[in-house]
């Protein structure tokens, strides 16, 4: 498996502001992903973070709202921009380990509350 850390673990933010979430992995990985989990709901894929190129966004998610960086094979950031209360969710990064087939592992998540 891999050790995946996220910062911050939780935050309370004012509407209209932005928050950047960091995801760090203890080994190089090809595939990194960002998910959102709204209260009481399942997980929804936001985007695939591509190293050295623009992220690939899923339907319903746009780069202006959720810009993603992936400067190397162990690190990625997700920014939640111009936040509203509807953005209150848990945001999770995940990785697919090289050579492990398609098994995914998840970070501990960032619990965001927007007031």
């Amino acid at each position: 498996s891999a050790v995946i850390s996220q910062k911050p673990s939780r935050d309370i933010c004012q509407r209209g502001t932005s928050l950047t979430i960091q995801c760090q992995v203890d080994s190089q990985v090809t595939m990194m992903f960002w998910y959102r989990q709204q209260p009481g709901q399942s997980l929804t894929l936001i985007a695939t973070a591509n190293q050295g190129s623009e992220a690939t966004y899923e339907s319903g998610f746009v780069i202006d709202k959720f810009p993603i960086s992936r400067p190397n094979l162990t690190f990625s950031t997700l920014t939640v921009s111009n936040m509203s209360p509807e953005d209150s969710s848990i945001y999770l990064c995940s990785v697919e380990l090289n050579g492990k087939g398609y098994e995914q592992y998840f970070g501990p998540g960032t619990r965001l509350t927007v007031t």
């Binding site: 087939g101 398609y102 501990p108």
Partner: protein, 110 residues
């Protein structure tokens, strides 16, 4: 895209009881995983099981790929088993996107 359905949506057990959770998926898959989300939100990998049967302690899982379903068995349940159980399916074709089911919310009473 692929659809993933889980049942039951909610389950209440007395400590020591056994249970079976089901996951149906609408198409052939490259990957099928089971996760446990604990009350603190952490997703814990239980099984990576695109086909066949695996066991890990009190938990076991079976995926019948030809019939497009997977089962998670919990035996001798404990209060620490409480939380939400998700299955997630991946079909690689036109991209790499894992689809999560809605989850089964389990509460084990002491």
């Amino acid at each position: 895209g692929i659809q993933v359905e889980q049942s039951p949506p909610d389950l209440i057990l007395q400590e020591g009881a056994n249970s079976t959770l089901r996951c149906n998926f609408s198409d052939s898959v490259n990957n099928l995983q089971w996760f446990h989300q604990n009350p603190w939100g952490q997703l814990i990998n239980l099984f990576y099981i695109p086909s066949g049967t695996k066991q890990n302690g009190r938990l076991s899982a079976t995926t019948v790929a030809t019939e497009r379903y997977s089962l998670l068995y919990i035996s001798s349940s404990q209060t620490t088993d409480s939380g939400v159980y998700f299955c997630a399916a991946l079909r690689v074709g036109g991209g790499f996107k894992t689809i999560f089911g809605a989850g089964t919310r389990l509460f084990v009473k002491a």
